[in-house]
């Protein structure tokens, strides 16, 4: 059995001559909760759509549950739950009719769970989808995706438009799902605290490349930020490999370095700073540093 539920091999995508994805390689093992991050228009939705076979790649191949994305069979689709960005539901249908359509087309349908979700979210079954608020559409989309008991759940910015309570409910649902063995989740989000809470692996897209692809804890351990104070003016020629960001002001340098190790520590000490303080970094800080426009592409973390 293929243990990588999601695979992308050298995926390149151009839109009107503009390169959106530039050689993306991605592997998500079974049971992983993968948080895909990136700024607006960084290609998160595009890679998700390519994975699902909704968008053809310009070059490269992608696989979901061992099957090539461009030719996913109905049986494979039946094992995947998908919440699209903007919640592409059929607007002129009533909630009940759409739910029945999904139920009739699905291979597995958990009626009790769907009813539980619609009651939790208080979704009106007799109202047209076009008349629902964005938040309600998000909840309905999530309920439909979860009711099929998916082996792989792909969520493209699922909490967009949800209020704090609904977001918390969604996270709890996701955590419940994670509790079930063998479930894999790929999700993109702009709310980094959500990602930090549930993801165990992180990918960051910037400039069309996957600049970060590693476990969340590993990412936090390997990206370090230091404040260095020198006895006289800060050296202009302070050089280390994989510097993500460097800000010099008088005697002070604030430096962010990827793949921090003992060798880099020794190298830094040769510049003889009078003090070296490590600054704590949240996922949000790391994300901001890694997606700066002037940052050179990092080696895979």
């Amino acid at each position: 059995m293929n243990e990588n539920v999601i695979e992308a091999e050298n995926v390149v995508k151009y839109f009107d001559g503009r390169c959106v994805l530039d050689g993306i390689n991605l592997k998500v093992p079974r049971g992983c909760i993968y948080g895909l991050l990136g700024r607006n228009a960084s290609g998160k939705t595009t890679i998700i759509r390519i994975l699902l076979g909704l968008e053809p790649p310009t070059r490269g191949q992608t696989f979901l549950l061992g099957a090539e994305s461009t030719g996913l069979s109905a049986k494979v689709h039946g094992r995947i739950g998908y919440v699209a960005e903007g919640h592409n539901l059929i607007q002129n249908y009533k909630v009940g009719r759409l739910a029945k359509l999904c139920k009739d087309l699905s291979l597995h349908w958990n009626d009790k769970f769907f009813e539980h979700l619609t009651e939790t979210f208080r979704l009106p079954m007799d109202r047209r989808i076009g008349q629902l608020s964005i938040g309600m559409r998000a909840q309905l989309n999530l309920s439909l995706a979860l009711a099929i008991d998916p082996e792989l759940l792909i969520l493209d910015d699922p909490t967009l438009g949800l209020d704090t309570v609904a977001r918390r409910q969604f996270l709890e649902l996701a955590i419940d799902l994670i509790g079930q063995q063998g479930r894999t989740i790929l999700f993109s989000s702009h709310i980094l605290s959500d990602v930090e809470r549930i993801a165990d692996r992180i990918g960051i897209l910037a400039g069309g490349k996957l600049v970060v692809d590693c476990a969340l804890e590993e990412l936090k351990n390997r990206v370090k930020k230091f404040r260095l104070i020198f006895p006289e003016s800060a050296p202009e020629n302070l050089y280390l490999t994989e510097i993500v960001n460097k800000e010099i002001e008088g005697r002070e340098i604030v430096i962010t370095v990827a793949n921090w190790n003992q060798q880099k520590q020794n190298m830094l000490e040769t510049f003889k700073p009078s003090s070296c303080t490590e600054l704590p970094m949240s996922l949000e800080d790391i994300f901001i540093e890694c997606t700066r426009p002037d940052v050179a592409p990092l080696a895979h973390l």
């Binding site: 909704l54 689709h77 087309l105 699905s106």
Partner: protein
């Protein structure tokens, strides 16, 4: 597949209701004409009946095809369905079957009525064969060819060129039937046209981003 066909019919129920009303009206009219004008003019009924039917089908069937594809594109129906255990191929096949069913809703009752009246009113003369089968097949193929054009037009992002091309081809098809008549030659040409249109629609539908 049945669910997909049912969904297509429900979404385009107006076309089916229109087809049923049209078909019923024409059936009643043809029975009324047959009993009022007697058996002398009976051989002319199928031909007389086929002209308005063909004109209506030439307008109605591409409208249905274009409407199915345009609604899909506009409301992102296939994008939603593709996330379910449904392949694009099945969505298109269900759509095409729905189109054929709509055409048959008009043609089948008319063909049955015409056949019934023919056998009832026209004396069995061996040198004058029953034209109803030929008319039915040609009308069905022509309506389906126009429907396929509608599918192609409705899926294209640019509407002007395919619409003009569709209109031009429709105006070629009507004189073709008038010149060649109802029969094998016309059927072969229409079948070739249908295959070409379907291949192009299939290729576009399967490869376009949803």
């Amino acid at each position: 597949m049945f669910t997909l066909i049912k969904r297509e019919i429900e979404d385009h129920i107006a076309y089916f209701l229109g087809a049923a009303v049209l078909s019923s009206t024409l059936v009643v009219l043809s029975i009324w004409a047959a009993y009022n004008y007697g058996p002398e003019e009976a051989p002319l009924y199928p031909i007389g009946l086929s002209i308005p039917v063909i004109v209506i089908l030439v307008i109605g069937s591409p409208a249905l095809g274009a409407s199915q594809m345009y609604t899909d594109r506009n409301r992102k129906v296939s994008a939603f369905l593709s996330a379910l255990p449904v392949t694009r191929g099945r969505i298109l096949v269900a759509r095409i079957i729905t189109g054929i069913l709509a055409i048959l809703t008009v043609l089948a009752p008319l063909a049955i009525t015409a056949l019934f009246l023919w056998h009832l009113l026209v004396p069995p003369i061996p040198i004058y064969p029953c034209p109803i089968f030929d008319i039915f097949v040609t009308a069905l193929l022509m309506a389906f060819a126009c429907y396929c054009l509608g599918l192609l037009t409705g899926w294209a992002s640019s509407k002007v060129t395919p619409t003009l091309a569709g209109l031009a081809l429709t105006f070629v098809l009507i004189p073709l039937i008038m010149v060649k008549g109802f029969g094998l030659h016309t059927a072969v040409i229409l079948v070739l046209f249908i295959i070409a249109s379907l291949i192009r629609t299939w290729q576009k539908f399967m490869s376009t981003a949803l």
